[in-house]
């Protein structure tokens, strides 16, 4: 991996080629490896090393970006010219701000725990294979078939601009995902962390296998409104569909479900949500796409959406808008994406608050007279953007609960559920954990017991 000094030297070489008023360089270096298994064998296994040098130039209100992975002199000159060529031909945008200087960038940078772990970076294909072997052993013990991944990566990223801003972040990541397949059932578990030593492949395999065994011979019950117990991965994949609406630009564009709703009691009083990059269970860099430090933002306070996140440019525009008094405090919060972009900003380090009396999933099951336990959801898509209705399917471990105990596996359901309705009907929550799903980025979320969850159809398995 390049060091910060090597990256800074690269930036100096790039700046020599530019005639723009302003220049910003993002450097991203990555090493990824992923071992994939199915049918109890490793069937795909790969490693990749790549670099991206992304140059944004600006000329009096006009800006554009060009990116390359060729860092010889010819490649760097070409990427600067491409960026400048794109920028020069545009109409000037009076809302484009000058690039932030070092003081503005570092004003709110927070100290975060180290997220680079040598043992994660050093995980070899042989060690990943041994982890897969241990997972397959659990599958074979239960006469199941295992499929999944074991992966690790190491990244370094930095943002440097002509006004002296300079940021640098290194991180590792490891992930294990396991599906256990029986003749007519399946179970699933997934976990991710910067530190591979916090992941327990064997325990994940045992849980996934238990779910597959207990879900065997699934029965069909009619769709309708049920109390559901959503495990953290299911919560994560659902709520992930609303956080892009917490950006200020989504309000200005009038495409957010929070238009005219900030400050209202939208969810239950037991819902508190922060964006907090420094949380010990979170990951990612402490700065945004312009190099601005990520603040801790209390997005939802006792069910009321109190705050949005803002990139620098969005905050400036919002202060001049007719809705400026309806969106809570307005200031750059360090959540912008690299410019230029259409999306603006979004909170990407979601942390749910701990409720007064957290319950375990087992306790939620014990308190459910008639309901459904959901391990995982799949293929979630937005049906209605303002009522925030989303559809999707249950998958890999759906169980019928009656009289406080799990009775049997179920054929999978389709749901059409409003996230506003769902978060207004949370009867109990667990202690938030770092969860991994497939539809959204990792978050710190609890399991939830939700009343009147809306299942509309049943599938054939």
């Amino acid at each position: 991996m390049p060091s910060r000094d090597q990256a800074a030297e690269l930036v100096q070489r790039i700046r020599k080629y530019s005639v723009a008023d302003e220049v910003e360089v993002i450097i991203y270096h990555t090493r990824n490896a992923l071992t994939r298994f199915a049918n109890n064998v490793i069937h795909q296994n790969l490693a990749e090393e790549n670099v991206a040098v992304s140059v944004r130039t600006a000329f009096a209100g006009r800006t554009a970006r060009a990116t390359t992975n060729k860092i010889d002199d010819e490649g760097l000159q070409r990427v600067v010219e491409a960026s400048e060529r794109l920028a020069k031909v545009q109409h000037a945008d009076p809302d484009l701000l000058p690039m932030p200087d070092a003081r503005e960038g570092s004003r709110s940078v927070r100290t975060i725990p180290s997220r680079h772990f040598e043992r994660t970076a050093a995980l070899t294909p042989e060690l990943r294979a041994e982890m897969v072997r241990s997972i397959v052993a659990v599958a074979e013990k239960h006469r199941l078939t295992a499929a999944g991944i074991v992966s690790n990566s190491e990244t370094a990223e930095g943002i440097f601009n002509c006004r002296g801003l300079s940021t640098w972040h290194t991180q590792t990541a490891a992930e294990i995902s396991i599906t256990m397949l029986g003749a007519d059932s399946s179970g699933w578990q997934k976990a991710g962390s910067p530190d591979v030593d916090t992941l327990d492949a064997g325990a994940l395999a045992v849980t996934a296998a238990r779910k597959a065994v207990e879900a065997a011979r699934p029965r069909e019950i009619p769709p309708g409104k049920y109390t559901v117990i959503l495990e953290p991965a299911a919560v994560l994949d659902l709520v992930g569909f609303m956080f892009y609406d917490f950006g200020g630009l989504a309000i200005l564009d009038r495409r957010s479900f929070l238009n005219d709703r900030v400050g209202t009691q939208l969810f239950g009083k037991n819902i508190n949500i922060w964006d907090d990059v420094a949380h010990p269970l979170q990951s990612g860099s402490p700065f945004d796409g312009e190099g601005i430090g990520r603040q801790k933002v209390h997005l939802v306070e006792n069910g009321v959406v109190r705050r949005l996140v803002f990139a620098r440019g969005t905050a400036a525009r919002m202060l001049r808008s007719e809705v400026k008094d309806k969106v809570g405090p307005i200031e750059p919060t360090g959540h912008g994406f690299p410019l230029p972009n259409e999306v603006g900003e979004a909170p990407m380090n979601i942390v749910f608050g701990v409720t007064d009396k957290p319950k375990t999933v087992d306790e939620m099951v014990a308190s459910t007279e008639r309901g459904i336990l959901v391990t995982r959801l799949w293929y979630i898509r937005e049906v209605d953007p303002y009522e925030k209705i989303v559809t999707g399917m249950t998958r890999d471990g759906t169980f019928y609960v009656e009289g406080g105990t799990i009775r049997h596996g179920l054929r999978n359901f389709r749901f059409n559920e409003s996230l506003i309705h769902m978060l207004a009907n949370v009867e109990a929550m667990g202690i938030p954990v770092r969860a991994s799903g497939e539809e959204s980025f990792d978050m710190v979320v609890p399991a939830m017991q939700v009343s009147d969850f809306n299942f509309t159809e049943v599938t054939k398995f």
């Binding site: 994939r36 298994f37 049918n39 064998v41 490793i42 795909q44 296994n45 490693a47 990749e48 090393e49 790549n50 670099v51 800006t63 554009a64 970006r65 060009a66 990116t67 992975n69 060729k70 990427v79 960026s83 060529r85 794109l86 545009q90 109409h91 945008d93 294909p125 041994e130 897969v132 078939t145 499929a147 992966s151 995902s177 396991i178 599906t179 397949l181 399946s186 409104k225 564009d253 009038r254 972009n341 259409e342 799949w378 293929y379 898509r381 049906v383 209605d384 953007p385 209705i389 559809t391 999707g392 399917m393 389709r414 059409n416 409003s418 497939e438 809306n454 159809e457 599938t459 054939k460």
Partner: protein, 489 residues
């Protein structure tokens, strides 16, 4: 480039690989967008590197690097062999490949205008004009446009002697108008939603699509939807426009016929398939009118799944998938073809780029048009009662590809052969085989369009791929409509 490839092939052989192939890729991508009259994004991205795939000790390994120096290429090949040997620690059988004759070839996407020769000023002028037209409609609260061009050059060489050089061009363009009022957000898109129309063509695609001519109508429909009536819930005859039918094919035919899914290789993420091997040539997938092919050949048209060779050197082919309603074929690779004792791969192994392992992907999975002349208006005129649905708004299907639900941006009620009132928030749902068996009419060739879906996700790490789907408007009897809003009123 073939010299560089030979460094990797030689190291692969020296380290013990029984098979190796090398892809050296160079990509360039221009992406432009506008929003409410201003620039949304403007980016130019280039990427180049090498991917080495090997079989050693009977198992697969793959390594990729952006560094094309001799030392780095040889290290990458050695790493691929090391990875393959690690894979062999958890195997049951050696990998076998269906035989394929080595090929030497050059191929480039047929096109009229190289899109990278058209100035960015000209690109932006087109988008800004459309953006202005959309916002000239009172009630439109957000206008978005986008234009994308991609050039992918690849050199493929294998230890079996193939040397294939291909250059593929892709163009894409689209726009959308949003209207927000009260407690509702409505949207209309053109030529279709989620990025518009994409094909393997040059700039001529942008000129062919009548972009300006349709902008005002699209803006007006977005605003009109705010006052339209809610699509009723019930069982109706449904006519789908071609772009929605293309996505229906993608989700409920294209994915379940992927042989890697059928064989359990995608079970952890993308899922499996209801099309188990016993169903080949025995399952009545659809009605007699349903004829679907997977066709990557140039003569099928400029689809996002058109090429000369796939990414293990197998020539483009046309595979009958559904023939007069009978299920007749899978999408396959050399490995999966051998696993089901097929003599030859169907040639559908594709990768997002040089740094990704090729996996089975759709090519152009297209429904063939009806043989009798039938326009969309004639189809509507021949329908006593039903709904006509246009332009996708949401899509979802289970992990075996049985139960689906789609929403569209707009619908119209059909009464006694006429389009009557506009309907908002339409949706329909069903079970794949029941749905395709209910198809009782499809329009003829003049209504058939080869649609592009540019953002299909599959694989771990996830790869995004463009797929093509030829489709014409078609009618389905007795479809469940409107259940997406059941319980949410």
């Amino acid at each position: 480039m073939y010299d560089i490839a030979s460094w990797a092939l030689n190291i692969g052989a020296l380290r013990g690989a029984s098979y190796a192939d090398v892809r050296i890729g160079g990509d360039r991508h221009r992406a432009l967008s506008t929003k409410n009259g201003k620039l949304g994004s403007a980016s130019d991205t280039e990427s180049m590197g090498i991917g080495v795939r090997v079989i050693a000790d009977g198992a697969w390994g793959f390594a990729a690097s952006e560094d094309l120096s001799r030392a780095a290429v040889e290290a990458t090949a050695a790493r691929a062999v090391q990875i393959a040997k690690a894979s062999a620690r958890v195997k049951q059988h050696d990998v076998r490949l269906a035989p394929e004759k080595p090929s030497t070839a050059e191929w480039t996407t047929p096109m009229v205008i190289d899109p990278f020769t058209v100035s960015v000023e000209q690109n932006l002028a087109v988008l800004i004009e459309i953006d202005g037209e959309l916002r000239s409609v009172r009630g439109v609260t957000l206008a978005e446009t986008n234009m994308n061009f991609r050039r992918e050059e690849q050199w493929f060489a294998s230890s079996e002697g193939s040397k294939i050089h291909q250059t593929k061009y892709t163009s894409g363009v689209g726009y959308a108008a949003y209207a927000f009022a009260g407690s509702e957000i409505q949207k209309r898109s053109y030529p279709t939603s989620f990025g518009g129309q994409w094909q393997n063509k040059g700039y001529e695609l942008i000129q062919e699509l009548k972009l300006g001519e349709n902008a005002r109508r699209v803006g007006e429909e977005a605003v009109a939807l705010l006052k339209a009536e809610q699509c009723p819930e019930g069982i109706f005859d449904v006519i789908l426009d071609g772009s929605q039918l293309a996505l229906q094919i993608h989700e409920s035919v294209g994915h379940p016929i992927e042989l890697d899914r059928v064989l359990g290789m995608e079970a952890n993420f993308a899922g499996t398939s209801f099309l188990t091997l016993d169903k080949l040539r025995s399952l009545r997938y659809g009605s007699e009118l349903v004829n679907i092919v997977a066709d990557a050949r140039e003569e099928h048209g400029p689809g996002l799944g058109t090429f000369a060779f796939d990414e293990e050197g197998v020539p483009a082919q046309s595979t009958p998938i559904i023939t007069s309603g009978l299920f007749t074929g899978y999408l396959s690779s050399r490995e999966t073809a051998a696993m089901i004792q097929c003599e030859r791969s169907g040639g559908t192994l594709r990768a997002e780029g040089w740094n990704r392992l090729p996996i089975i992907r759709m090519t152009n999975v297209s429904i063939l048009p009806g043989s009798q002349p039938l326009t969309r208006e004639q189809l509507i005129a021949g329908t006593d009662s039903g709904v006509y649905l246009e332009t996708n708004r949401s899509w979802s299907i289970d992990d075996k590809r049985y139960n689906f639900q789609f929403g569209t941006e707009i619908g119209w009620e059909i009464k006694r052969g006429k389009r009557t009132r506009m309907l908002k928030n339409p949706s329909y749902s069903g079970i794949t085989t029941e749905f395709w068996n209910s198809m009782n009419a499809i329009c003829s060739r003049e209504e058939w369009v080869l649609w592009g879906i540019p953002h299909c996700g599959k694989g771990q790490p996830q790869q995004v791929m463009g797929t093509g789907h030829g489709a014409a408007p078609a009618r389905f009897r007795g479809v469940k409509v409107g259940s997406a809003y059941r319980g949410n009123a």
